[in-house]
């Protein structure tokens, strides 16, 4: 029973981890807590539907179109919103990010309707039994894609000069510009990367939840996962996501599935009260 719960919970955890990574990436790089990010996740999934309905594409090509469109969306967010606001206060930038998410949400509500859409699973949702534990191929696909994306990000940040330059700019903007990094290009890369991450997460999570304009509430789960991980550590975001998924599943099974969401927000409050530096974090050292 416990093994079953843990196996199933990894699925949600993997998606939370992706969303948390987006939050942390944007925060580390630009200082903005992107409260519209959950809506961007929803919008990413809708992009697939729009590509299917509008261009008449089959599912997989529509996913590719959605990913390309989210690259453009990321560039648009930076070029049209965050770059013009680069000298504005952080609060103004955070408000702008929230408003942008709301615009996306109300756009899909107006354009695609307020009700839920069916969204295809990547693999069969029929469970098969492996050593007595029921696993769902569709869920395995979610975990697999998430792990693949995490591995790619790891390679980018640890093994390439460009990835290191992004980390450098996140750590110290002045230092980055002194070694010749164009910090505005790094910001552009971060917004594009996080928009693509949002779409990947949206495509993965849409069949699990129902795809409606309000699916963006999932963003708060990703936010909670990021807080659990300390909010400024990429590995922390991944661990936070998995931990949140597991805690939620345990609570849902052993306490009450109706209380599941309340418990995850309770965790958010508890972390902020008891361990604001996150599970494995040191508090961000402020420069003097």
């Amino acid at each position: 029973m416990l093994a079953q719960v843990l196996v199933s919970s990894i699925t949600a955890g993997a998606v939370y981890a992706l969303i948390a990574l987006g939050f942390v990436l944007i925060y580390k790089g630009t200082g903005v807590v992107h409260f519209g990010y959950g809506d961007q996740v929803t919008f990413g999934a809708y992009l697939v539907l729009i590509a299917q309905a509008l261009i008449g594409l089959p599912f997989w090509p529509a996913v590719v179109v959605a990913l390309v469109a989210s690259v453009l969306l990321g560039a648009l967010i930076y070029g049209g919103l965050m770059w013009p606001l680069r000298n504005a206060s952080l609060l103004a930038q955070i408000i702008a990010s929230l408003a942008m998410g709301t615009v996306l949400r109300e756009f899909v509500r107006a354009y695609m309707g307020p009700s839920a859409w069916p969204f295809p699973f990547l693999l069969s949702p029929a469970p098969i039994s492996v050593f007595g534990i029921l696993v769902v191929p569709a869920n395995l696909a979610i975990v697999g894609v998430s792990l693949g994306v995490l591995a790619l990000l790891f390679l980018l940040f640890e093994r390439t000069f460009h990835g290191k330059a992004i980390m450098a700019a996140c750590d110290n903007r002045i230092g980055a510009s002194l070694i010749g990094v164009q910090v505005s290009m790094v910001f552009l890369a971060i917004w594009i990367l996080s928009s693509v991450l949002a779409t990947v997460a949206g495509v993965l999570v849409a069949p699990l939840l129902t795809l409606s304009p309000d699916m963006g509430l999932i963003g708060i789960k990703g936010f909670t996962a990021a807080v659990l991980g300390g909010f400024n550590s990429l590995p922390g975001a991944v661990i936070g996501g998995i931990v949140l998924g597991v805690l939620e599943a345990l609570a849902g099974t052993y306490v009450s599935s109706a209380l599941k969401d309340m418990i995850s927000y309770g965790i958010l409050i508890a972390v902020v009260l008891v361990r604001p530096q996150g599970l494995l974090g040191v508090l961000a050292m402020k420069k003097v």
Partner: protein, 232 residues
């Protein structure tokens, strides 16, 4: 030669530099002395374009060094080690060093260059895997200089490398400054510690309230009554 002519710069509508001119010949060590708040750091930031210039020019061999992002100054061969060092504190010492070669990232000799610098700064070698924030002040200063040298600059601008460091470390760092200059890199050295700066420099000037009030060879400066009373 790196030439600064009639440079004006400041913060917002506060003018700090009021027409500064100076020359740094290739391979030379030139020092800028001045009290706290004289505008020394502002001068170096305005030279590399970290701070916009209000008026005046900076040229490198008569070619203008464009105002704007420091990456253009760096490409032209001018690197700044700022007063605050601006290291990547959460990244490893090795990454900090490697990132210094960001603009030369295609080059085959990046690894060889960082080996060469680790020979010049041996105390960094034992710390390669540590995050930069765990280094002592002296080691951080050395890493900041090494990171700048990874870009193979022809002109290195040093902003108070002695600040807050023990005399023994200051000695070591100035030994390295001499070595760098002997290998052909010119150094523009900003210091409050005039005695040690005039020891390594061949010429220099005194900056006071954003204006050059005195200039000459190191010998002339050392013997000037103004420098003797105010800066030594």
């Amino acid at each position: 030669m790196l030439s600064v002519r009639d440079l004006h710069a400041g913060y917002g509508n506060k003018t700090v530099l009021r027409g500064v001119s100076l020359d740094v010949p290739r391979g030379a060590i030139v020092t800028v002395l001045g009290a706290n708040g004289a505008g020394k750091s502002t001068l170096l930031k305005a030279i590399v374009g970290l701070l916009p210039r209000a008026a005046g020019t900076v040229t490198l061999d008569d070619k203008p060094l464009f105002d704007g992002a420091p990456d253009r100054a760096l490409k032209a061969g001018v690197a700044l080690v700022p007063e605050q060092r601006e290291l990547f504190l959460s990244l490893s010492v090795a990454d900090n060093l490697r990132l210094g070669g960001y603009l030369r990232r295609g080059a085959a000799d990046i690894a060889a260059e960082s080996e060469r610098l680790l020979d010049i700064f041996p105390s960094l070698r034992a710390r390669l895997a540590q995050p930069a924030r765990t280094l002592s002040g002296g080691e951080q200063q050395m890493l900041a200089i090494a990171r700048a040298l990874m870009g193979r600059p022809e002109f290195l601008l040093l902003d108070e490398p002695s600040l807050g460091l023990a005399p023994r470390i200051v000695e070591e760092i100035f030994g390295i400054v001499r070595q760098i200059s002997a290998e052909g890199t010119a150094v523009l050295l900003v210091e409050q510690n005039a005695a040690i700066a005039l020891d390594v420099a061949s010429s220099g000037c005194v900056l006071d309230l954003g204006e050059v009030t005195l200039r000459g060879t190191a010998e002339e400066l050392r013997n000037s009554p103004i420098v003797k009373t105010s800066y030594l």
